[in-house]
């Protein structure tokens, strides 16, 4: 009792003595046995010598989650918006000159339209039309020859320049040409699939962001924030939320309003503010209690004044 600033009162002593007189040691012993047995039956409390580390772990978890989200966002952004997407698709065709000398006179002529076909910006509709022939060619030669290393071919790839050329209709490729392109054509289908997935992700993420943004300013959200602020006695937040138009008497799942929360937390200032904005004293929660009812057992004169239950002296 280090900070007892109230002097001992005979009433306190009388009450303590009364409890002593009424005390039943046998009942206490029986209660002790029952409680300790029940506690022993319960799962043991987790061994944790440093309980304060728990919130720290939570914080790290939060940071990790945030970092993961940021990483995914960067990945999505780079995959969707990067202009350097086309070269890896264009690069493999030069494999032909390496592995098949007979197509060497044609590489520029063949790869130019191919690159144009594969660029969704140059030919927005083309990909679906060209996918089939290219995929068939890939299937035809998939087992015929191993795919050459694309990075090794990139520096020697001459047809980079024609990428921006207008897309001509897909030419009918001769069998050797198709064979020459086959190793290069194999990877694109998964790339296209992931592209659509990424686009879906972007759309979904955008929708979610819009929903969250909308909810943040919705009356229900404002009301929830108002109740939280009132429960915690954050008067400035209460004021700001009321000024934003938060519905003052909106109840939560238990039917409790911000005023009830403020009363239960015994926050006279927040309560006074809510009353000034017209919070109802008579609205009842699901248990049938109003803010007025809740204030009575608290016996706080400041709270009663804030509610207007007693006249200011």
């Amino acid at each position: 009792m280090s900070d007892h600033d109230a002097t001992p009162d005979p009433i306190d002593t009388a009450y303590a003595q009364a409890e002593g007189v009424l005390h039943d040691e046998a009942a206490r012993a029986a209660r002790r046995a029952r409680v300790l047995a029940a506690a022993a039956r319960e799962p043991a409390a987790p061994v944790d010598a440093t309980p304060r580390r728990r919130p720290a772990l939570g914080r790290y978890g939060g940071w990790l989650a945030a970092a993961s989200v940021a990483g995914v966002s960067v990945l999505v952004a780079t995959q969707v918006y990067s202009p350097a997407r086309a070269p890896p698709r264009v690069a493999p065709p030069p494999a032909a000159p390496v592995s098949q000398p007979m197509v060497s006179p044609q590489p520029a002529a063949e790869t130019a339209p191919t690159a144009a076909r594969e660029s969704p910006r140059a030919t927005p509709i083309a990909p679906r039309a060209t996918a089939q022939p290219r995929d068939r060619a890939a299937a035809d030669v998939a087992q015929a020859q191993p795919a050459p290393s694309a990075p090794a071919l990139l520096p020697t790839s001459p047809p980079q320049q024609p990428v921006a050329a207008p897309a001509p209709p897909p030419p009918a490729l001769s069998a050797p040409t198709a064979r020459a392109f086959a190793p290069a054509a194999a990877p694109p289908p998964p790339a296209r699939a992931s592209e659509s997935t990424i686009q879906e992700l972007v759309v979904v993420t955008g929708e979610k962001r819009a929903a969250v943004k909308a909810a943040a300013g919705s009356p229900a959200d404002l009301a929830a924030k108002l109740r939280d602020a009132a429960a915690a006695g954050r008067t400035s937040d209460v004021k700001a939320l009321l000024a934003k138009g938060a519905p003052v008497d909106a109840p939560d799942d238990d039917g409790e309003t911000a005023l009830m929360k403020g009363v239960k937390g015994d926050h006279p200032k927040a309560v006074a503010l809510l009353r000034r904005y017209g919070a109802s004293l008579e609205t009842r929660n699901h248990a049938g209690q109003s803010a007025r009812d809740m204030a009575v057992p608290l016996g706080d004169p400041d709270l009663d004044r804030a509610l207007g239950l007693t006249a200011r002296p």
Binding site: D9, Y15, V21, R31, R32, A39, P46, D266, Q289, P297
Partner: protein, 193 residues
């Protein structure tokens, strides 16, 4: 609170670490105060629930031992917070209106000099029951503050912590509780003893 706070935290930690005796020692320190607190908050009408709520309180203590942070609260404050919530939850489940009396009346504060109280020595069971009945007639929050101070021996700061209010509010509740008790028991005479 008379028991040492650091020892309370050590006992709780030892319980969390598997010491089979630590919980019993901790229980013995507070069981009377905790039970009477619950019993008085419940009042005579709900007295049957006291045993169950007392047990639930201690089970909650055992189960959440790892979550207790002695840097944030004393064990006593934590324990009586749990006990108080158990009682409120019980009232909510039972749909009991926790309205023990009307709004406090200023007249109660004008009742007399505590030195004139006739309750110097409470020895008879009858008088003890009358005092306890007067305590149970107090408004709930005033009752809680009074029992925690007068019987459990909590400081005003600990009462404030356990009740979720400021120290000033706890002090105010205690003051009103004493005044009302004085008024209610003013007719008692030592002759009853």
């Amino acid at each position: 609170m008379e028991p040492d706070a650091a020892e309370d935290a050590d006992l709780l930690r030892a319980h969390g670490a598997g010491d089979p005796h630590a919980f019993g020692r901790l229980y013995d320190r507070y069981d009377r105060a905790c039970f009477q607190f619950i019993r008085r908050l419940l009042g005579a009408a709900q007295a049957d629930a006291a045993e169950d709520l007392h047990q639930e309180t201690w089970i909650a203590v055992s189960r959440n031992a790892a979550g207790f942070d002695p840097a944030k609260a004393s064990f006593a404050g934590w324990l009586f917070t749990i006990a108080r919530r158990k009682v409120w939850d019980h009232f909510r489940r039972q749909k009991v209106a926790v309205l023990a009396s009307a709004v406090h009346d200023e007249a109660a504060m004008s009742v007399a000099d505590p030195d004139l109280s006739p309750l110097d020595a409470v020895q008879s069971r009858e008088l003890a029951q009358e005092i306890v009945a007067a305590v149970e007639a107090l408004p709930l929050e005033q009752r809680g503050a009074f029992v925690l101070f007068a019987h459990a021996g909590l400081s005003l700061a600990e009462i404030a912590e356990a009740s979720g209010v400021t120290v000033e509010t706890a002090k105010s509740r205690l003051r009103y509780a004493r005044a009302k008790l004085r008024q209610a028991l003013a007719g008692e005479r030592p002759a009853h003893v």
